[in-house]
Symmetry: C2
Subunit: 371 residues, 2 copies
């Protein structure tokens, strides 16, 4: 693995000092910001995430804050998901689409107030799309990236840790619900959410100055729960079917190709993608969850072609060896002609099987992983 040159441009976070001291081994860059990818090893981190509780620096989940009379209108322009009944404090998984119906991001939109929204983004500059729309339409809205740095607490013991720090009330937060908590003399939003299927919370820390204190408090309180520093885990997120913008879904895909159209069953007529989405025909390719036979595969840097004999019928964008399922789990886009393929698909000369959903769904009942 090559080294990463860190500069001001690949922004450090209020937790980077603690991430370093916790022994981070590798980073990626996400929204122009550092995001840890490995602490002990991909597999040790995975095992621990499924058994205990981890604290993740996900400051790179930047917020696009819309404030002002046209904040709600702008939020709705950017997503086909109907936001009209979103309650204050509610999180909604609300894909961002351009006017061609292509996917620009798959953020969580949080309604903070009637005229204030946070769009909690994946890896692309959604703020530029918002600025372009607001300028083009002359909207009365302020668009900022606020001084907010999410810290995620994930794992089966996440609730225990959060209760020990913030009190019993956080136990009552429903999935994709939020609550304000007090820390360091200020109020911070806490949501029951996060980029794992183990359950957990995201603390939207307001103000960089409290970063070390928040991290240290969670680590101290979690000692008896075997808390460790962690990060989004490639294996666990593929098992759980969590998509990665830039990997599995990109601006080259239409909403229906990504399968995210199911979150937008009533397309909001106000969104810029409306006309495109209303006239698009059925997708000729779409994202699928896959299983690849053979020996353990390494994480990939470039897509692997999905073949039927010598014919290209799709590509695999994410893959990892799953210790729990003892197979390679993967995500990829498959041509419609091969959605029902059995026994004919291969990748890297190994048989590939299309699963009906994420592999965790196939073997146990699991609550919907995204709202």
């Amino acid at each position: 693995m090559p080294q990463l040159s860190i500069s001001k441009r690949t922004r450090s976070t209020p937790y980077t000092d603690r991430v370093t001291k916790a022994g981070v081994k590798a980073y990626t860059v996400y929204n122009h910001m550092l995001l840890a990818t490995v602490y002990r090893s991909l597999e040790e981190d995975y095992r621990h995430l499924k058994e205990a509780v981890q604290v993740w620096d996900v400051s790179c989940e930047r917020q696009v804050e819309l404030t002002g009379p046209d904040a709600g209108r702008l939020a709705q322009l950017m997503t086909p998901r109907d936001l009209s009944r979103q309650r204050i404090g509610q999180c909604l998984y609300a894909p961002t689409c351009d006017r061609d119906g292509h996917l620009l991001n798959d953020p969580v939109t949080i309604k903070r107030d009637e005229d204030r929204y946070w769009i909690s983004i994946a890896d692309s500059d959604v703020i530029y799309f918002a600025k372009g729309l607001a300028a083009g339409l002359g909207l009365n809205v302020s668009i900022q990236e606020p001084d907010v740095f999410p810290l995620s607490v994930q794992g089966p013991k996440a609730t225990d840790l959060m209760v020990s720090v913030f009190g019993e009330s956080v136990r009552g937060i429903k999935f994709f619900g939020t609550q304000e908590v007090e820390f360091g003399g200020r109020s911070h939003l806490v949501a029951r959410s996060g980029y794992s299927v183990q359950g957990g919370f995201e603390i939207y820390l307001s103000g960089a100055d409290l970063g070390w204190a928040l991290w240290d408090t969670l680590m101290e309180a979690g000692k008896s729960l075997d808390v460790h520093a962690g990060c989004p885990n490639l294996i666990e997120r593929i098992e759980g079917g969590l998509l990665s913008y830039g990997n599995d879904i990109t601006w080259e895909h239409t909403l229906s190709e990504t399968g995210l159209a199911r979150f937008c069953q009533t397309v909001a007529p106000e969104c810029v993608a409306y006309d495109a989405l209303m006239t698009q025909t059925a997708p000729t390719r779409q994202l699928r969850y896959l299983q690849i036979d053979g020996p353990a595969m390494e994480p990939i840097a470039t897509p692997i072609p999905l073949l039927d004999g010598q014919t290209y019928v799709g590509q695999i964008s994410s893959v990892a060896w799953s210790p729990d399922y003892q197979t390679n789990v993967a995500i990829g886009v498959v041509d419609a002609s091969h959605w029902s393929a059995t026994d004919t698909l291969t990748a890297s000369d190994q048989p590939v099987h299309i699963l009906p959903g994420p592999i965790v769904m196939s073997q146990k009942t699991e609550k919907s992983i995204i709202a």
Copy 2:
């Protein structure tokens, strides 16, 4: 230095195989794409760049292609620089501004045809700003990221190398001018430009399939010129005063704070930033070129405060030890109150001196480094 996890999201380029074989030691991520930062060492790369010729994979200089009847209008909406007299084939350094007059990028805009522009971008998703404006205003324009991967040839022997591969005609390309060249049976744009002050060219390779062939051809042809793989060099670019978007200049800065207003002396009335730029008062802080005494400083990951005694009067965003000038060279933003400061500024407990311009300008006559 920590490691970098490479995934599909941190896009590899048509040259990555060759970059790897050439012994790249470290990368950064730029426009969601790999960009080499070091081959032999920062100082060896620097020395060689100033004496010979290097081939740089700068595929991460992505193009935002605007095509259609409103392409010119959209290009002008995005920048305060007057594009009305831009000739076909001409490159212009044309800062992108939002409607508040803040800097979203500092790209080079290339007019390919009357209704076709390439915006050759620094590290931010300018394509999202374009998409937002086009959707908001209902513009008749197609906005794409084309399959174009710039390869840069930089150094005092760059012209010799280019002539040996593409023929004598490239010698006639003026600074920020362009020419079409033939390679691999296709036509590619070549500009006299690049992110160094040593002189050179950028080849806008059309089509990823020719990447290895172009790289190998240049390397083979350049053997007698001591050609090496290279990359933008931190030391050389600070000496030369080349700004880095995300480091020295960001969306937190207004155009005048970055000093780039000099490229937009007649602000185009059509641009979205017009009203803001017309009403903005003189900047209270602005970018300056600096010299820092004391021992050699290492590249920084976070800004260094610039102090007058105990008072914060700015911050340093880029710094490197310059072997040629035997001092630390730096770029930073300085409060207006201290633009004339002599002998009172410090950073990291060392005296800081404000230079009248990039250090290369102070010691020899140098042609303007950006058009």
